[in-house]
Symmetry: none
Subunit: 212 residues, 2 copies
DNA sequence: CACTAATTCACCCTATTTCGCTATTGTTTC
DNA sequence: GAAACAATAGCGAAATAGGGTGAATTAGTG
């Protein structure tokens, strides 16, 4: 029996969800609340396995509430549901500790499936959300794939790497077995290609644009 | 009609997938290949909408192949499938540009559903994978807020920030309305606290340890 | 009040960096 | 075989950075 609590400010929706859970086999509704003002005592009084959380709510919104829940009841899973398809929401929801993110266009059966899915250790997501998560993930973690390497040559990349490592010209020259003047030339060329004018700027650009 | 190409080194599986696609309504198989050696010319000769890509393959593995595909045919969607449930794989697959990631334990119907799902703009994932993606996302994007700041003072942090921005001592002094010797002192103290001996090293440490 | 930390500034000296120009040697490309 | 590019190297200058030492001011704390 999966115990589910509902936080949803729309009265009609809230009662629909409640009814859905109560009539479905294997699910119970431990509470259906219109806001998150007394969230912690409410969940203490009526414990649950999963919270179905609306994002758009007056007072404490769904993201903040998720954070609160994970702080106080880390084992409770939070399923975010929203009408909006917005990157910032998705991002914040994941960071707040949500276990799933579904759109309100989902069918009744879809809700039950998502809840069961989360309960089984999955992270149900509307397909479109999944795609956005993939893309957010990729962009936030690997911005360099979209970024060409400024046409640095192999040797220039090596020199830049050493620069990032905080080495001096002299040390880099020794490391690469070339004359210090060669390093000077390489660094001049690197600066030109990166459009920077100092080592610190080059290092920042190298790391941020993840050339290195 | 969704056109699907298969890359899978296991002959039995490869032919099973091929048969599945050919008998299912709305799907065609444009090719079933045991390795990725001639991937680009093969996809050029037989274009497809979606590639079903195994990760574990001799020669070019599925991740590299995905990268190749996205470089040469950015509009082609890649569905990764694997027997392994490993964070590094998931991470790399997403970064390589995969549109979905499913485990081989999926049922035949599940495959068709995943392909249709990807084709419709979603990112099909096995539920467990989805959970891992959420967690990876959260961990990678919310690095430990517990990161100590090496006890840098406010002013030192400002100076370090300017250093990261690639500014010279002179510019930093102008920016903070103090004498250049003051900046020198701050930077000396910053270097001592970070245990570094050059601007480039300090910048790398600042960014990597996310002080800034 | 005495003590400490943070911030400020100065002077000196040396090392390093940045940038100008030039040039040779291979390799690859057309 | 000319053109383009990568990698190498040199010279010289001006600017910047790095490190030593010392010290005044301010703010907060027991």
């Amino acid at each position: 029996m999966i115990q589910v609590a509902i936080f949803e400010d729309n009265k009609h929706l809230r009662e629909t969800f409640k009814l859905l859970l109560e009539t479905a086999e294997g699910y119970t509704c431990t509470g259906a609340y219109p806001d998150c003002r007394d969230l912690v005592p409410q969940l203490e009084a009526s414990p649950c396995d999963i919270v179905l959380m609306d994002i758009e709510m007056p007072g404490i919104n769904g993201i903040k509430a998720t954070r609160l829940i994970k702080e106080n009841f880390p084992e409770v899973l939070v399923l975010i549901q929203t009408v909006f398809f917005e990157d910032a929401y998705i991002f914040d929801a994941i960071c707040a500790g949500a276990s799933g993110y579904i759109l309100k266009s989902t069918t009744p059966a879809g809700y039950l499936e998502a809840i069961a899915n989360a309960n089984a250790g999955g992270s149900p997501m509307t397909p479109g959300i999944a795609r956005r998560v993939f893309e957010l993930f990729k962009n936030k973690l690997q911005p360099q794939l979209t970024n060409d390497t400024y046409n640095l040559t192999n040797q220039e990349k090596k020199v830049l790497q050493q620069l990032v490592d905080g080495k001096s010209y002299k040390l880099i020259a020794a490391e690469l077995f070339v004359a210090i003047d060669t390093i000077k030339t390489h660094i001049r060329n690197i600066y030109a290609k990166l459009h920077v004018h100092s080592g610190t700027e080059a290092v920042t650009k190298a790391i941020r644009d993840k050339i290195i």
